[in-house]
Symmetry: C2
Subunit: 427 residues, 2 copies
C-alpha cells in the first residue's frame, strides 16, 4: 500500500466478535508503540456490525455501521480487516475490498481454503496484498515464516497440529482421562470445544488450515477438496493406551508432503513417537513441524486460538502490509506452480492395527499369510488374551496404502476375526 | 533497496567459509525458484577471499577478489553479505558497505552484540537495511518473528537455548553419559564442539545472541557487557541427576526479561521442569520461548547451526530486504527506547542447592535458621547419607538474589558445611 506523508493507515473492520473486538482494543493499546517502532499510525475508522444499538464500552458508537459500502466503498480506507468468517458473504466483501484497491487482512480459513485462487488472483490483478496469518495457528507466525523465511528452504514435509479441540481431547485420553465422549464433554465444559464440535472432530477445520498451509509451502494451489480427511471419532481409549505401550502418542495430524514434485495433503489421527517434537504439543496448543532439504527440522508452537493472541497475528499482518514494497513481491502467495496430487492409495504409510480374534492355533498364521501376500510386514506386535478371544495389536512397516487396505479387507473377512480392524497411521 | 526494472539484485559476499559457500550454492540452486516466487533475480557477482589460488569446484574463479574495495566500492552491488565473523575487520567492512549505500546481511553476533548501536545508526542514516537472522539460532527465524510478527505482542520474557554445544553436553549428562569433561570430549569428536570450546561453555556465545535477542524484543539497546553470564563448568553429573529426581532438566538458558519497563538479560545453567516446552529441546538443537501479554507462549525450535541451514536464513534476509518498503519501516531495529537495567541482585529466582554437611543432629536447624533470616524458604529437599556426611539437596521458593547469596555465604561458613554450596537457578 501507499502510505502518505503523515503515515496514517486507516483501517475498516468487518466483524466485531471475539477477534474483531480484540483487534480494535489491541490497536488502541499498542498504537503509540507501533507508531514509535514503525512510524505508522494505525487508526480503526469504521466497523461493520449488525447490531448498532448494542453499547460497547470503550468503543465510540459512531465507528459502527451496518452498511458494508461504508467501508468497502470508502476511498479513504487503506486496509480492510475481515473477521466475519465463513465463505459468504465474507468472500464477496473481501473481493469487493480488493477490487476497490484496498489491502486485506483476513482470518478466514474457509474462504481461503475454498475460494483462495479467486481471491489471490484478484489481489494480484489489483496490485494489492492479502495477508492471513490468523487463519492458521492463531498467534503462531506460520504463514509469514513459510512465505518469507522458508523461501529458499526447499520444504518437502509439513506436519501440523492445527486444531486445539482435538489435541486437547487426545491429550486427555493419553493421560487416561476417559473415552472420546467423556473428554469431548469435558472440553465443551471448559470452552475448548464448540457445542457442535463437528468441524473440529471430523478434521474439517484442520483440513482447511492444511490446504492453506500446503499452498504456501509448495507454491501450488491446494483447496479443501484436495485434502483427504479422517477425524478422531474412531479412536478408542484402548488405541491410545496400546499406542502408549509401544512408545507412541496419538495426535490428529495434518500432513502435507511433496514427493517427486507431487503433493499429498491429508488429516488423520496418527501415532507419533513420544520422542517426536510434536509429541510435546499438549492441550489446546498448536504447532507446525517443517522439514526441508535445506533447513532440516523447524518447529513453531503456541496457542492456536483465542481472541487476544489471534489479534496479535492480525495486527502483525497490518504492519507487514504497510512495510512491504509495493512493487508486489510476495503478493501472489507464491502459487506459481501447478503441481499434481498423489492419490492417497499410492502413498506409503506404516500402520497401527487393533482387532479381536478367536484365540486358537493357526489364527496368526492365517492373518500373516494374507499380510505376506500384500507385502505388509509387521514391525512389532502385542497379543492379550480375553477369554476365548485375543486382542491383537500390531505396528507395520511402511506399505503402499492400496495394498495395505486390500490386506485389511481380506483379513476382516476371515471367520476368526471377531471385531472390525482399527487402523491408525504411524508417522 | 531500490530494485531496477529488471529486478536483478547484485550481491557481494564477504567470506567464503562454511556458511559463505553454502549461501553461494543455495542461491545458484534456488535462483529460478526465487525468481518465480518473487520476481527477483539474485546474482552473486563478487566474493572476498584471501586465498585466490585455491580452486573451488563449481565457482567461477573470477568471482573472487582479495580487495574489499572491489565489493564495498562497487556501485553496481546492491547487497553486501558479511560472513567473516568477529568484530574486526568485519565491522569496518559492514560500516563501509552501509555508508556506500548498500543494504547488509550479516551473521555476525559478535559485531552486533558489541557495536550494534553504531552499525544500526549508520544503517538508519544511510536509509539502508541491515538484517541478521543467521546471527541467532541458525535457520530458526527468531529475529524476523520478533521484529515483525511480535510487534504488537507486548513481549515480557524471552528464554533461549541458543548454544548447541552446551545443549548437547547437558542432554548427554541428563542421559547419564558421564561428566562434563567426558561429554565435552565426545562433543568435540562429533564436531559439535570446537577444539577450543571456551566461547561456548562459558556462555559467551549465548550471551552475545541474547544481547541481540533482547535488543529486538524490548526495542532497547542491550550489549554483550549488559548480559551477565555463567557457563556450565560448575555443573556436575550429580546435579543433573538430582535435578532429574526432582522432575527437572538442566539447560544452559538465556533469559531476557522486561519487568516494570526495566530489562534484565543473563545466561546461566537452569533447572527446567521436564514438562516445560524447552525441556524437549535436546542435542544440538536451539529454541526460543517467547511470552507476551498478548500472545501467551510461543516457541520456535530447530537446528541452531550448520552451514546449509544457516545459509537459508541468509537468503531469506536478502529476500526480505528486497521486499521491504524503502520508506524505512522496521529498518531501525526498533531500538527506540532507552530502558534501564535491573541489577541481577535485585531480581528474584528460585534455586537448586547442593552441599555436603556433617551428619549430626542440629545441622539442619542451623542452616534453616540462616535461610529463615534471609527469607529463603525451602520448597523441597532430599537428604542422603554418605558415611559421617550427608548430602543435602534443596529447591527454594523464589527469593531476591541479593538475600539468597548472602544466606549462601553465611551457610558456607558454618563449620558443619563440608563442601562449597552448588547453586543453580530454577526457571
Amino acid at each position: 500500500m501507499e502510505v502518505g506523508v503523515d503515515k496514517v493507515v486507516r483501517i475498516g473492520l468487518l466483524g466485531f466478535g471475539t477477534v474483531g473486538s480484540s483487534v480494535y482494543h489491541l490497536i488502541q493499546k499498542e498504537r503509540d508503540e507501533i507508531l514509535q517502532a514503525t512510524g505508522v499510525d494505525l487508526r480503526v475508522v469504521r466497523i461493520l456490525e449488525k447490531d448498532l444499538e448494542l453499547e460497547r464500552p470503550g468503543v465510540p458508537q459512531d465507528l459502527f455501521t451496518d452498511d458494508y459500502t461504508d467501508i468497502v466503498g470508502d476511498p479513504s480506507i487503506d486496509i480492510v480487516v475481515e473477521l466475519i468468517g465463513g465463505v459468504d458473504p465474507a468472500g464477496s466483501l473481501v473481493e469487493g475490498a480488493l477490487t476497490a484497491g484496498k489491502d486485506v487482512v483476513t482470518a478466514n480459513k474457509q474462504l481461503l481454503a475454498t475460494r483462495g485462487a479467486t481471491v489471490f488472483d484478484l489481489a494480484k490483478q489489483a496490485g494489492k496484498q492479502i495477508r492471513f496469518e490468523a487463519s492458521v495457528g492463531g498467534a503462531i507466525p506460520i504463514i509469514k515464516v513459510m512465505r518469507e523465511s522458508m523461501m529458499a528452504a526447499d520444504l518437502h514435509t509439513v506436519y501440523g497440529i492445527v486444531n486445539g479441540t482435538t489435541n486437547y481431547i487426545l491429550s486427555e485420553m493419553f493421560k487416561g482421562a476417559g473415552d472420546y465422549e467423556d473428554t469431548l464433554a469435558q472440553a465443551q465444559e471448559l470452552g475448548y470445544a464448540e457445542p457442535d464440535p463437528t468441524e473440529d472432530v471430523t478434521g474439517a477445520d484442520a483440513a482447511a488450515k492444511m490446504a492453506i498451509t500446503a499452498s504456501i509451502a509448495y507454491h501450488s494451489r491446494v483447496t479443501l477438496d484436495d485434502v483427504s480427511c479422517e477425524g478422531l471419532e474412531n479412536v478408542r481409549p484402548e488405541d491410545v493406551q496400546y499406542a502408549r505401550e509401544f512408545g507412541f502418542m496419538v495426535k490428529l495430524v495434518g500432513a502435507a508432503r511433496l514427493v517427486d514434485e507431487r503433493v499429498n495433503v491429508r488429516v488423520h489421527p496418527a501415532l507419533l513417537s513420544q520422542d517426536h517434537p510434536l509429541a510435546s504439543i499438549n492441550g489446546v496448543d498448536n504447532a507446525v513441524f517443517l522439514e526441508g532439504h535445506v533447513i532440516d527440522k523447524i518447529m513453531l508452537s503456541g496457542p492456536g486460538a483465542g481472541g487476544v493472541p489471534t489479534s496479535s497475528a492480525v495486527v502483525s499482518d497490518i504492519i507487514s502490509i504497510v512495510s512491504t514494497d509495493k512493487a508486489g513481491f510476495l503478493q501472489d502467495c507464491s502459487c506459481y506452480k501447478d503441481r499434481d496430487f498423489i492419490p492417497d492409495a499410492e502413498t506409503s504409510s506404516a500402520f497401527f492395527i487393533r482387532t479381536r480374534v478367536e484365540d486358537r492355533a493357526g489364527v496368526l498364521a492365517q492373518i500373516s499369510s494374507i499380510f505376506g501376500e500384500y507385502e505388509v510386514s509387521i514391525e512389532s506386535m502385542i497379543q492379550k488374551g480375553h477369554g476365548d478371544q485375543a486382542e491383537l495389536v500390531m505396528i507395520t512397516h511402511p506399505t503402499i496404502e492400496r495394498d495395505f487396505f486390500a490386506a485389511i479387507e481380506e483379513v476382516g473377512q476371515l471367520s476368526c476375526c471377531r471385531s472390525p480392524l482399527t487402523t491408525i497411521r504411524v508417522l
